[in-house]
Symmetry: C2
Subunit: 808 residues, 2 copies
Amino acid sequence: MAVDGTDENNLEQGIYTKDAARLGKNGRRRRSLSDLSSSQKCGAWASHFQRLFVSFIGADWIYLMLLGFIMAVLSFTVDIFVDLFTEAHSWIYNLADSHVVLQYLAWVTYSLFLMCFAAGFANMVSIQATGSGIPETKTSLRGVMLQEYFTFRTLVSKVISLTCVLGSELPVGKEGPFVHVGSVCAALLCRFMSLFSGIYKNKARNEEMLTVGCAVGISCCFAAPIGGALFSLEVTSMFFVARNYWRGFLSATFGAFIFRLLPVWNRQEETLTALYATKYRLDFPFDLYELPIFAAMGIVCGFGGAFFVYLYGKISLFVKKQKAKNSFLMKNCFLYSALVSVLISTLTFPPGFGQFMGGRLTKKDSLISFFDNRTWSNHGIVADFDNDDHLAAWKHPQANVFIILSVFIIMKFWMSALSITLPIPCGSFVPIFVIGAAFGRLVGEGLATLFPDGFNVDGHIYHIVPGAYAVIGAAALAAGVTHTISTGVIMMELTGQINYTLPILISVILANMVSQSLQPSIYDTAIRIKKLPYLPMLSWGHREKYNIYVEDFMKRDVRYITLNSTYRDIIKILRSGNLKTLPLVKSAESMLLLGSVGRVQLLGLLTQRMQHLREDNASTMPVRYKVRFQTSTEESASASTAKPLKSALKKPPVDEEEITSVYDSGLNLKKFFCSRPEIKAMEDDSDAEDDTILQEIEEWEEQQLVEQVTFSSCKIDPAPFQLVEHTSLHKTHTMFSVLNLDYAYVTSIGRLVGAVSLKELREAIEDCTPADGVRLRPVLSTFRDRGVRGTTTETIALHQLLEHQISR
Amino acid sequence: MAVDGTDENNLEQGIYTKDAARLGKNGRRRRSLSDLSSSQKCGAWASHFQRLFVSFIGADWIYLMLLGFIMAVLSFTVDIFVDLFTEAHSWIYNLADSHVVLQYLAWVTYSLFLMCFAAGFANMVSIQATGSGIPETKTSLRGVMLQEYFTFRTLVSKVISLTCVLGSELPVGKEGPFVHVGSVCAALLCRFMSLFSGIYKNKARNEEMLTVGCAVGISCCFAAPIGGALFSLEVTSMFFVARNYWRGFLSATFGAFIFRLLPVWNRQEETLTALYATKYRLDFPFDLYELPIFAAMGIVCGFGGAFFVYLYGKISLFVKKQKAKNSFLMKNCFLYSALVSVLISTLTFPPGFGQFMGGRLTKKDSLISFFDNRTWSNHGIVADFDNDDHLAAWKHPQANVFIILSVFIIMKFWMSALSITLPIPCGSFVPIFVIGAAFGRLVGEGLATLFPDGFNVDGHIYHIVPGAYAVIGAAALAAGVTHTISTGVIMMELTGQINYTLPILISVILANMVSQSLQPSIYDTAIRIKKLPYLPMLSWGHREKYNIYVEDFMKRDVRYITLNSTYRDIIKILRSGNLKTLPLVKSAESMLLLGSVGRVQLLGLLTQRMQHLREDNASTMPVRYKVRFQTSTEESASASTAKPLKSALKKPPVDEEEITSVYDSGLNLKKFFCSRPEIKAMEDDSDAEDDTILQEIEEWEEQQLVEQVTFSSCKIDPAPFQLVEHTSLHKTHTMFSVLNLDYAYVTSIGRLVGAVSLKELREAIEDCTPADGVRLRPVLSTFRDRGVRGTTTETIALHQLLEHQISR
């Protein structure tokens, strides 16, 4: 199983032998080191330590803790800069208090400048940084890996422009982008670690790590490890693997720990507490009579969440349509962002309309004030709390607190829905939290005004806690928008109080039920609008509609290799596409599927052949040709070993790239085997070359290529995933989803008749779905569905089956 | 797709068509109702409401809320009775305070009586009620459904004897048994609901509901919905389905809500709070310097947890060995239980040794005292707290609090490990919680004594909170024993405070890491000791060892039907086993696999045939015979319709049982078709029957059975799950695990060559594992493993592949 010299490698990398071939070079280098050190004791120790180091680096927990640490530092740094930006904003604003117009200009232009910079930076450095990033992460984890979304460029673009956007006080959040940033960090860290340990070259594992990245992203935003781990599982996967759950927890816990530790070290805080720590009473959190109100809030938030998603979808589609029409406004990405920025900051201008909607508070300040322990209202008028700037924002001489809260909710609702359609990095989570909290505070304050005496239980008087209503409202609205339960858990961790578990969970579940029956989640809506290659779920309730079998949508024109394939055939096939594996059939006539051979294996065969040619066939080679050939191959060999390690960060599959790049450039086939360009050069050098010699060379080349491949040294997967023609679309979809397959071969009585990849499957599903896009199913509706796992028995009548048998 | 008359059924049951055939009867009954009602308006409405009712009942959330409600009421009732028992115990104990011997007798015999009753009841009513039940549930969810563990008898036995055991104050918990009780309730509720809606006849769905049952069980024990949902996923599944997560949350939340609502209604509590609500300070939960201590506690608890599992395993094996030797002590299950009960209650006798270990406190009282807000010790001596019985138990004139706590920990450690090996319903979770909390309290009190002045942060003095150490210790030790993270979440919900999230998670993760590297979890140990048919995980690290392919362990002697099969063949096959589906091949010579046919389908064919015979072939039948035959079939037809619905609760697949029971009783084949016994009776009646007539009848019978089956009306699954001979054990295992398969056919170039069921797979895996039993892998070690999902590429060399090709 192990390629020569990678034995010690294999041991440390568990069963990650998939990439063993690629490691060949590293392994050889290491072995040559230990050979050398057998004479030197010191060297032996060095090699021992090196091996220990590799095995240490290969351990999951090192990776997970590193990831948590990096994300925590990133999140903390972003927070610091955002604070700096907002402080500067209020400083400039206060500086210009001589005249209201000056103040207005200071207020608006500051935001405008930051917004334009953010939009420009994101669009110039990496366009993939715009938007939330959760839809793309979700797609990469289930549908197709969107490689360009996980580059260092995207990371830089996303982090820097996100900081500016948040600093501009637009009602967008940090959480969605941080899920994306977490995934990018996870992907980049995998690539970096792959320099030290082969375990990180396994693609399946690295994709799993993206899920962990999501968990850490949330965890480092809200200091909510449990909620983060759960959110990542809920949002990204249909099927959880116990392993990922563990990894998520470990990394998220460490990330949250560092994220909360940094402010303590920075002397901003005394100790590790929740981000928005609340201090509601512990002995009597709520009365039974309040429960129906919490439940009603959940239902209202469900409707609100669905409406938010609807609004977002409408605005997005409108913007998209305008863009397609290529109107002037949409031509320039700056202009749209700038316009929205000016609109929003004009409306929130504190001396203007902003005074009716707490305009001068940032999102953070608003949340703190909503979660406040105290009851604001005394029959509608905010009581005087000394030296508390946050609460004063809700006090207005002409309007009572209910009006201000209502205006705040309505204005922020459409502003948030509008803002998250901008071509900038932006999340919808935190603005939704703020709106939900405002709604909860409104309800709470209303009740506190209606029942100023609170509840009398056994002689104790317990007043209503409007802050708790804000907590519940925030959780429920977020649940309604994202269709997750974990928002409730995040809320508990965020506020540091768990004694509202039951009201929170009840309202979150109700919000989910209502919202899921009305609209897809905001992420699924974004996937639909952006037309991302996400493998949609089938709506099982109407499976009669999907009366489609594999034979109806499989790709019939499958490239295959046979036992009689020549080197020429293989090169042709390898050039014709970038399939990871190729089916091996007995012969082109019988088409009996023997197994599948990896692309890497075939490339290995070609390399072997090259070496073989150089060593043995030297005698049969034309003389002049031989000299050049040997020179060139030796050169290329020395060049490849001298390749700096650094480049691995950019191009992980070094060996493959090396070989394929040779193919893809012009006269590649022959160059690869026979270094033809050298011959050409030779031709140019010597003016009058003999035609016969050239003829001879070409014939010799032909011979080399026409020869049959010997597969004896090739590793063959004897049992590639196979389907039969009659497998239904449903069953295929289930298997692809659950087993996370990329492709499967279709056989009929052992004969290869076609292949199905994610692409064909997706197209087949999309063909059955309404024309207005992919229909994405809400999670809750799965409540009614049967087990996707388990043997799905789908039946046809015999005469149909026999028709097929006969037609074969 | 739909069987006649079940259309409306199908609509409401989503895609649960698997059992459509079985529903035939119900559907027909309903339709006949609607036919009738077409003349009567009122009847139409009735049928409409009936359909609405069926669709309502079929909705998941109804089921889930019902399950939560039932479990909450059960849990609350058990708690009430346990409280009654313990109150009675202390009443009797106090009554006998005239003399210490009398008191001792009262103390010991009370426990002894309850224990003996519990052991006797459990062993007599249903032996399946003994033990925790989590290992069995785990096995049923992954390996083989242990039907006898999910009966009403087991439920009654478990609940009643559990109440007595808990009342006897043995150091065992309620949580393990309640996971089992939850699953049993889920299974029984499915059966009950199946009377109203066909959706509940789907086996795969019902098995998924068992997971929900586990979540509700935990949730109703600890009022911990989030922890319960997570624990059930962690313990029972390797692969989570998003659907189950939702279901678990919904049901667990409702269960916990009702469970906490009942005491409020019962006027025991004022409002819904946590079960062991704590009131630690919110502003400064802990100092940074305390974190290393929390981490160290996690590591110590990891070792402690592993040692507990080791101890439990050793005791269990010892007891098992003794039982096998059939020694007198072990012959009688009472004697062992009684002896342990006497030993433990003697040691805890408060005026005796019990005074050094808080003997008079129940588990609940101990936990309350450990989680207490106050610091007990003032340099080792418990301060005087007025009117607090619980804390007074830790005060002793001769010994300081550290000695008492240490004695408590040591004694309870072995007592708990011993108690959970008894043949009674018992869980290990709560005793472990108590021990962990005691350990935490010990550490906390020690620190409070070392640093009596606490921490001075920015002029504020913060004292150490030993109660928080108890919380963390409890979570960490429970994590070490059960190998889960959710114990931390359960702990937070149990105490109603979340501001120790980070310390709890850190210590829980560390405890897991240590413990998992030393021992399997307590549930896996129990599975190993009880030799339950659990599909073990393969240790991927050494997959070279498992160089085994499907062909090496598949069952080659597969029963199949061909297109030319006669009715006789089918009857023979159906009698020979109880396979759910049978492969259909083209002919016995070609063995080309066409698909698979369900047992139910074949039974349907036979029933059809019977009706056909009665109606059409009457003319070819010998005369006398015909008369009898018609009478008998009519009788049986009327009998089957008159069958009461009630019996469905006992025997779900009514139709099948009906038919197979006919086969299995003596002269069944012929009786079924031709009601031969009637003929015999006839023979007996008339003395001198003509031999020629009998001959004629037998020949006619032969003709009927030899006739070829027409499969035209039969539903055939055209794509049963297929493997090829070369599929490795690993890959097979992965597919079976992930897709939750029961069986798969093995084909070679389209020809059926064998079949693999869970049984063969398990045996194959066990053959590769060490002789001392199934090797179960810790969860954390999966950290190192590659994706089980994704295409596992296993390769062999060509020559091996071709050898097989040639040998074919």
